[in-house]
């Protein structure tokens, strides 16, 4: 090992990693995500108010014991709206990641396995798909099928396939070229068995990291679609929609709703990025 390598190996790349080696940030992020999942399920039950109940005598109320995060321009309880909005905020991105992940993994594995023209052709297809930014695909889908929850989710699922597939393909090819696969082939193992018992489990770490990171990007994209008014439609609500519907109030000097929703979005995305970083580092260490 040269001095340069010694020195470079010691220069830990990011403050996130340094802090997460202590662990508390990763733990906090994981706890936050678990809480969100629970809230997504029981949110409507624990919400202190009906999220759509107007209270015109009590608009723009500041935080108080009655309304922990205050009320919006029509007197609706902001906390209740955040709690009830959790499920749709997470469900869309989760679907995107599941669909794009399933297709992406299948594509990556078959491209790595079959190689040749099949791989070359699909690589070009993925390159072309990559030229369509997710948010544009989603907006185009809305212009065809109308605004709502479904169209942007399907559109983003398609737009995320090349992102996931391209990275996994590289790892899958590396795995495929490892001597143990050749050894198994010589022993006459069936491709299906090799996929399920060797290739897929060995790729699981990188797949996990990819899905976590994609989930955080999908939250950003779906929230943006909702913010633009092209996603979920009122009276239903999610966090992106809350930021948007609170924006006129920001200008009027009542930023409560927008800020509350914005803060939970940022915390969630940062938490997911931290978890992704930590997982990547963990698996990286494990593989050495």
């Amino acid at each position: 090992m040269s001095v340069a390598q010694l020195a470079a190996g010691r220069s830990t790349p990011s403050v996130l990693r340094r802090a997460s080696s202590v662990g508390w940030l990763t733990v906090a992020s994981t706890v936050w995500m678990l809480v969100l999942v629970i809230v997504a399920v029981i949110g409507p039950l624990v919400a202190p108010y009906d999220p759509t109940a107007l209270d015109l005598m009590n608009v723009y109320a500041g935080p108080s014991s009655a309304h922990l995060l205050g009320t919006d321009e029509t007197g609706r309880d902001i906390l209740s709206r955040l709690l009830v909005g959790t499920a749709p905020t997470l469900a869309g991105p989760a679907l995107v990641v599941l669909i794009a992940g399933a297709v992406g993994v299948l594509l990556a594995l078959s491209m790595a396995w079959l190689g040749g023209r099949f791989d070359a052709f699909l690589s070009r297809v993925l390159d072309i798909m990559f030229a369509f930014p997710g948010i544009i695909v989603a907006i185009v889908a809305v212009s065809i099928f109308g605004a709502g929850f479904i169209a942007p989710v399907i559109a983003l699922s398609i737009a995320y396939i090349p992102i996931i597939a391209r990275i996994l393909r590289t790892s899958a090819i590396r795995q495929r070229n490892l001597p143990y696969i050749a050894a198994l082939t010589v022993q006459g193992a069936s491709p299906a068995r090799m996929w399920l018992t060797h290739l897929l489990p060995n790729l699981l770490p990188i797949i996990t990291v990819q899905l976590v990171v994609s989930f955080s990007y999908a939250i950003l994209d779906i929230s943006a679609i909702s913010y633009l008014g092209l996603g979920l439609q009122p009276p239903a609500t999610d966090w992106g929609l809350m930021v948007a519907s609170g924006q006129p109030a920001v200008i009027a000097g009542h930023p409560g709703q927008s800020i509350s929703a914005a803060v939970v979005i940022v915390i969630t995305v940062v938490a997911l990025n931290l978890i992704g970083d930590r997982l990547g580092e963990h698996f990286d260490v494990e593989q050495r």
């Binding site: 340069a4 948010i135 544009i136 212009s143 920001v250 200008i251 940022v266 995305v269 990025n273």
Partner: protein
């Protein structure tokens, strides 16, 4: 220049043409996806009368086979005829024309911020002391989690409403006024990207700082001010440029959110409004333009990159 660069450039341009062709076919055939009468779909969310429907059928040659329609459409695009929006009851060229300058300016402004601040912060983090590095790392970690519309709300409430330094809405009139109006939108739009570029720059510069060839330079008695520009920054520049280029290419799509958040009349906000009103002819043109911009910028970046780092041209693709 030596020939690997030329052949790489030709290959890249070839790929660009293929991508654009496929993209135009895909975007054109969207109409076929629409449930119901395509003429009604092209009329947008309005309920057209029979005359309008007939006009649409004529304009879009809906009675012709689809490949003829495609050729007609693409031919019109090349002659500058972008079609008619039945929602706005105007030629798409006339709708987009006055808005495109604003959007391009916004993209250019954001690109400048990303390059100057992103690369600057990354270099400062890489070459600075621990405190500077740590502070900047925390900043970029949070910035990467902040969506454009959140940053927009924050900037509006602090710098436009709180401090009153910048206007809340609009795009301004003359060039100086436009820059002034577009400052907050450009910051909002480049925020997450600048953080990303800063992180890549930092790790790339750091990697070069500890590289073997820099040791050689130091062993010959070169001072940091001599080897940092020539060996560290120059060598890191290819990777930084390729990442910055990709983010700049993505900016065209990012105008969608930034323009909407700041009420700017550009093509990004026009795309949102057209989508909401299901104005397909306009959506098709704008989305094709955005894909076009993305692909062209990426191709230029790939070629320039090969010129910066001669190894790329012979090694082939890096992405």
């Amino acid at each position: 220049m030596h020939y690997p660069l030329v052949s790489l450039a030709m290959r890249k341009v070839g790929e660009l043409v293929v991508t654009l062709f496929v993209a135009s076919v895909l975007i054109f055939s969207l109409v076929a996806l629409v449930p119901g009468d395509p003429a009604a779909a092209l009329a947008g969310g309005t309920r057209p009368n029979p005359e309008t429907l007939a006009a649409i059928r004529r304009q879009f040659r809906l009675d012709d086979p689809i490949w003829q329609r495609y050729l007609g459409w693409i031919g019109d695009l090349f002659t500058g005829n972008l079609g008619t929006s039945f929602v706005y009851r105007a030629n798409v060229t006339d709708i987009i024309g006055p808005r495109i300058g604003t959007s391009l300016l916004l993209v250019a402004y954001s690109a400048l911020i990303i390059l100057v601040v992103g690369v600057g912060v990354g270099v400062a983090g890489a070459l600075g002391n621990r405190v500077v590095d740590r502070g900047l790392s925390v900043l970029t970690a949070i910035a990467m989690g902040a969506p454009t519309f959140v940053v927009a709300i924050f900037l509006i409430s602090v710098f436009a409403l709180g401090l009153g330094w910048f206007p809340v809405f609009g795009a301004g009139d003359d060039f100086g006024d436009q820059l002034y109006h577009l400052t907050l939108p450009a910051i909002a739009m480049s925020f997450a990207y600048f953080a990303f570029v800063a992180r890549i720059t930092r790790s790339s510069v750091r990697g070069e700082m500890f590289s073997e060839h820099v040791e050689t330079a130091r062993s010959r008695g070169l001072a940091p001010r001599q080897y940092i520009p020539h060996h560290v920054l120059r060598n890191a520049s290819a990777q930084i440029f390729s990442v910055a280029g990709l983010t700049i290419a993505s900016l065209f799509a990012a105008t969608v959110v930034a323009e909407q958040a700041f009420g700017i009349n550009g093509i990004g906000s026009l795309l949102v409004q057209s989508a909401a009103r299901q104005d397909l002819p306009t959506v098709q043109i704008i989305s094709l333009a955005m894909v076009f911009a993305f692909v062209v910028v990426n191709t230029v970046v790939d070629i320039v990159n090969a010129a910066i780092d001669p190894r790329t041209a012979t090694r082939g693709r890096t992405a």
